[in-house]
């Protein structure tokens, strides 16, 4: 499948947050203001892309030839966790400016289901290496798009009169649902 189609699909028709409802924890808790939502989004894009780029060769070059494919769940988690730790140490040491905007979010998403989800989807869908990287990058951008839209809405909501019991996560879940419905309008444009 054309790389552009995959990218488009991950943004709109198969948005990881709004179609699969993965990565909901940071999606709800970090979407209160635009600046932190942006930082979180960039961190997600980065971690998703890098982990997919590393997990693909681990699966196809190590696990498949050795007939140990069933290990992929465990191994993907381990590589994601180790890699994020490593990247955090490097940014902290050599890129202090980046650490301030992005680094503090890294540990938060190490064990996020959206990150693992992307690595697992790329195997299930038999993507090639280039397709996997584009898919992971697109998923990250799609997630960022969703959280930024959400934080924009939540900023407006500060002035809204929300029923007491729904303030905070409650209304955010409902908005996420409505956004997902809106994104359903894209369904059928691309088949993955």
């Amino acid at each position: 499948m054309a790389l552009f189609m995959i990218f488009f699909a991950t943004l709109f028709t198969h948005n990881i947050a709004l179609t699969y409802f993965l990565g909901m924890c940071p999606f709800i808790s970090v979407s209160k203001n635009l600046k932190t939502a942006w930082g979180m989004g960039v961190a997600v894009v980065f971690v998703m892309t890098v982990t997919a780029a590393i997990n693909w060769p681990i699966y196809y070059k190590v696990l498949v030839p050795l007939k140990a494919e069933f290990l992929y769940y465990v191994l993907f988690i381990i590589t994601i966790a180790a890699l994020v730790q490593f990247v955090e140490m490097v940014t902290e040491r050599y890129l202090p400016a980046l650490q301030v905007t992005l680094g503090v979010f890294l540990p938060l998403i190490t064990v996020n289901c959206a990150i693992l989800g992307v690595s697992l989807f790329m195997i299930l869908r038999n993507y090639s290496y280039a397709q996997s990287v584009v898919f992971a990058f697109g998923s990250g951008v799609g997630w960022t798009l969703a959280i930024i839209a959400m934080s924009g809405i939540r900023t407006k909501l500060m002035f809204a009169d929300i029923p007491k019991g729904l303030v905070g996560p409650g209304i955010t879940m409902i908005i996420a649902g409505i956004m997902a419905l809106a994104f359903m309008g894209f369904a059928g444009m691309v088949g993955v």
Binding site: T36, L66, V74, I78, R93, V100
Partner: protein, 361 residues
Amino acid sequence: MMEVLIPILVMCSIASGLAVLLAVADKYIASYGECKLIINKDTEITVEGGDTLLSYLIDNEIYMPSACGGKGTCGYCKLKVLEGGGTVLPTETPFLTKHDIAQAVRLACQVKVKKDVELGIPDDLLAAQQFKTVIEIIEDLTHDIKRIVFKLIDPEKIEFKAGQYVQFCIPETTEYRAYSVASQPSIADRIELMIRHIPGGLCSGYVHECLEEGDEIFLTGAYGDFYLREESTKDIICVAGGCGMAPIRSIVKHLHEKGSTRKITYFFGARQKRDLFCTEELRAIEKEFPNFKYIPALSEPISEDDWDGEVGLITATMQKHMKHDENQEAYLCGPPPMLEAAVKVLTAKGVSKSDIYYDEF
């Protein structure tokens, strides 16, 4: 045979490869060599950089208050980082006001030491110590509040101001919880705390279910800017609910011992009679110490309570008993909604906002 061995080998080699990578990175990338912490321009501590400021301070026996174990969720470990702390992180901003940021205030648990750091720590925080204690008495005050007496072992004496708090180190964890001292400062070799059982609470659960007389517990302190202003001559209004009794009891007993000439009125709010405690003790003080008046109020008395005292919210009782007088100061300790309501009544009664001191929990 081979199909069992190969996956095990694959798993182990990849995992250990990553572990080696991390260990090497930790040694070479995350190490920052020797760094100096300069405190208030006079004390200097040399540390091996790379870890958080809070952990170095605690290692060096400077007991910053911290209730969350360094996760950046309680906001207690504030100090001034004058130089070498880098920019304020997004994890800190929820706890810092604009004024704090202008004053270079940071959270010690979020600042990593990577070079020489210059710090400003208030003297009373520097004076905070860690105390090894032994539990002397545990007793029930109400159905969900226990009184606990700690005997100080090392150091043997503590100095604090009536109203301040100490931190309870939960054994075998790095978690601390803050509790106001319920005893008066003249008892220097013991500390009394009143701890309410909060369902699911880590520390209160430990205290109510596991703690026994004779156990060894570490406390740090004393902390807090909620304490009795002794230089003032204004009359005193105290308002408390639940465990807010603790610091107020300390203040009242302290004033009683000193034979203060200031008039003290203590409003205590509870739900039912079973939630009242220390009543006899306070009534006894009332008899000996004519300047002191204790007014408990029950918000939801039941018929078995046989209650003939004040009924209703504590704020209604305050409205009824307080005179309009600017020459008063107030000490409040209790749940936030109660404090908010009490502050409104106090200001309406002429107490200036700068004379209202409170401790929320």
